[in-house]
Amino acid sequence: MSQHYENEGSAASRSKAFVWLMQRVTGVGLVLFLVLHFWVQHMPTGFLATAGEYSEILKTLLEASPEVVDAIADGKIKEALPGEHVITYSKVLERLRTPLWKIIDILLLLFALLHGMLGLMNVLGDYMKRVRLRKAVVFCCWAVTLFLAGQGIVVIMAVGMK
């Protein structure tokens, strides 16, 4: 049983097939990356500071800069609860100093952005009939993607480069 579509074999059709493939590739990649990301950033592992370690970190911050006193008094920085594990600057710095983690995080960023923005364009395209509007939205989505990718890569590369 073969179906014939109006635009079969056209550039638009091929681009849609490519998007379909990209969503599968980046999706499966993201499952692996996100398991790792969640394990490192949200579970009580050595990549996070325990409550004791965090109060030590705050003490060293206090010695380095007196602004921290105000920040703690205002509640902008809070001590950890007993049993809590906190993402902290020094632990992230320690991890992101290794080039392997930089590569992993940049790949995660690019996979997530590509998967998310292609999916967003797919969803938005379902609700827009006018071709010019659709093209404008796709253009905006790509602009946002490039901006966020640049922002993220600059941040990841800059960590520990001082």
């Binding site: 599968r24 999706g27 499966v28 993201l30 499952v31 996100l34 969640f38 949200h42 579970m43 009580p44 705050l58 911050l61 800069s65 602004e67 921290v68 920040a71 509640g75 902008k76 920085i77 809070k78 950890a80 609860l81 007993p82 049993g83 809590e84 594990h85 906190v86 993402i87 902290t88 600057y89 020094s90 992230v92 960023l109 997530a112 952005l113 998310g116 923005m117 999916g119 967003l120 969803v123 946002v144 966020l148 922002q151 993220g152 941040v155 800059a158 960590v159």
Partner: protein, 180 residues
């Protein structure tokens, strides 16, 4: 000994109770507000129902949401919310240039309300991932009559992963203070 209600958990429990109560009040309010358009024993979409918010709602809820449609809607909603979160996340990481700003940024996310949001984020990611894998597997290997059991497997896996991953997140905030 550490004080037991340092972040004011009592306040947040009150907030949750209040939002439940407000939800109930809003439901009654919408019921009263939209009563005018209701006609009895009419199928939605039939011409002699007066067009109103009420008939719109009853049309929406008259669709029998079967597993495939539920999967489609949930995949869309979780996907959109994750894109939104991704953008916020990337912009927030700019504070990695300054230790003080970074600790303040993370403290913002350590608010007890955000801990619920974090668990919901995990649930969204888990559902989107498992459902995505189901779609991929179905495209490749399974016939369509397998989709219902596969969807229920997706739901079960999502719930299991959310509970296992969510417990360490909410434990220090909502469970440790209640322990003797």
């Amino acid at each position: 000994m550490a004080p037991r209600f340092r972040h004011g958990q009592g306040f947040y429990y009150c907030l949750i109770a209040q939002s439940l109560r407000n939800g109930a009040i809003w439901m009654v309010f919408i019921h009263v507000l939209t009563y005018r358009g209701m006609t009895q024993n009419k199928l939605p979409g039939q011409s002699d129902t007066t067009p109103s918010f009420r008939t719109f709602l009853s049309t929406i809820f008259s669709y029998r949401v079967r597993s495939g449609m539920a999967a489609w809607i949930l995949h869309r909603v979780t996907g959109l919310s994750l894109v939104l979160y991704l953008a916020i996340h990337i912009m927030g990481l700019r504070s990695l240039g300054n230790p003080l700003a970074f600790e303040a940024y993370i403290t913002g996310y350590r608010n007890p309300l955000f801990k619920f949001a974090e668990v919901m984020l995990l649930g969204s990611v888990a559902f989107h991932a498992f459902n995505g894998l189901r779609i991929f597997a179905q495209d490749m290997y399974f016939r369509s009559e397998r989709q219902k059991p596969l969807f229920y497997a997706v739901l079960a896996l999502t719930i299991i992963v959310t509970i296992i991953g969510g417990l360490p997140i909410i434990f220090p905030y909502f469970i440790t203070p209640l322990l003797p």
